[in-house]
Symmetry: C2
Subunit: 273 residues, 2 copies
């Protein structure tokens, strides 16, 4: 079994570190001349992946947009995940799940177990119930060679109320970072990774001791800039996956325009380190 | 349109305030002599609801256990939600979703919009990205006569690291409570409700000013006791929905035993106020 971090590093070395979000929301579908229905959902999502299949290291489907279409929307998501795997790219399924005990284990089974219809290479998870509540997902990811990206400091301003709150003089976001670092040390492998928004003036956390990867959403439409990443992340920028969604999709549906826009972002991302 | 809070109050007045969790995990299915597959999932979940259909005010299906079976598991969940509605009971779908902007709106569309296959009367939501990030769900719930239950202080010990952290001298959990109260005042209706675990020695938050309902998980298997609720919640205990899952399901699959165990818990709950 080749573990997640090894696969991620290899595909990023070959294709650059850009993560393309697959966010089929209504306005985006309309921009592609598609209806806001299951057919439009499938044509947009699989069309985007097909256009960029050999060009992008990481695709991040946003589960909410598929869930909005009910169980049949999740059938489409399963096919999108299959397309990403067939393209030799890595999938980070953005589900932001977070629960305790047997429920967290059930989410892990849904998205991180071999043979599950909706299995991805990694998922995002949300630690409102404490980092320790995520253990069933971390353990299953370690067993199956997958990864989890834990929300630490997100790209939206409202997050500060929770993420910058202090316990024992340490912010919630920093304690997530520290526990992620500890988990990777214990596991002896990079299973736990982080989500840190690229939209802030300051990163707000110290990444010393953390050897995993960082998903950095918010590039483009949310106001984050590639040119800020080196300053924000310092030496860790080489393990940052800048993530863009609308910024890429807006160039479609024309395949050449999508590839051109993506190539520009890949080059910008490569120039960071 | 009869709003969520009015429907909830009416069914609780008739049946008591017990919330029965529908948590089809493997061990529970085995206890009912069922296989850990789609057939077992459906027989357990719909069988539990059928046995208690006229007896219980609120059912809380736990989404993770359905997601674990992939898109076909969510077809079962849709049928369970239909059964709950047909029974005249209220459904609180425990999905703990939390995201920002158009993604949060997509989750709201999935679970809180009229006509959605997985629409419930209310859902649980998770505020790691800040209470404000939940606005699209709160707004859609207000429009469609549904509700949201926001995680404030959860039943598990690991939650304290995030939920008891302080910002401006106020804990994260208290700030969620305060913002829920403010949202209900602005909306002029009880759309926003809370999740507060029943397992703590102290409630840990002040509910003054909050007029919504409280879902209190953790009764039974997690160590919470009905007899503690009056002390924990004070005057607000009349708006508390004590929630039990394994505690009920373990009496099955025999229908009479399930109804007997449930009746005992309803009586215990009714004795609180």
């Amino acid at each position: 079994m080749i573990d997640f971090q090894t696969r991620l590093a290899a595909v990023c070395a070959a294709r650059g570190r850009l993560c393309v979000g697959v966010d089929p929301h209504g306005a985006t579908l309309a921009g592609w001349g598609l209806d806001d229905d299951l057919g439009g959902l499938e044509r947009f999502s699989r069309g985007l992946v097909a256009a960029l299949a050999d060009q992008v290291a990481v695709f991040k489907p946003q589960s909410g947009f598929f869930e909005a279409y009910g169980p049949r929307g999740l059938d489409v998501l399963a096919r999108v995940l299959g397309d990403i795997a067939a393209a030799g790219a890595v999938s980070i399924l953005d589900v932001k799940r977070g629960d305790i005990g047997s429920t967290m284990a059930a989410y892990a089974r849904a998205y991180l177990s071999d043979g599950a219809e909706l299995a991805a290479d990694a998922i995002t998870v949300s630690p409102y119930l404490g980092f320790g509540s995520l253990t069933p997902a971390v353990e299953l990811a370690a067993q199956t060679g997958r990864g989890v990206f834990v929300l630490a400091r997100t790209s939206n301003p409202e997050g500060a109320q929770v993420q910058d709150a202090l316990a024992g003089g340490i912010s919630v976001a920093q304690s997530i970072v520290d526990q992620a670092a500890t988990a990777n040390t214990k596991l002896g492998a990079g299973v736990v990774h982080l989500v840190l928004g690229a939209t802030h003036a300051e990163l707000g956390v110290d990444l010393a001791g953390f050897d995993g990867w960082v998903l950095a959403p918010g590039i483009g439409a949310q106001g984050g800039r590639m040119s800020d990443l080196a300053r924000l992340f310092g030496a860790a920028v080489e393990r940052v996956l800048p993530s863009a969604s609308r910024e890429v999709a807006a160039a479609g549906p024309d395949q050449q325009a999508l590839r051109q826009r993506t190539a520009e972002l890949v080059v910008q991302g490569a120039g960071l380190s």
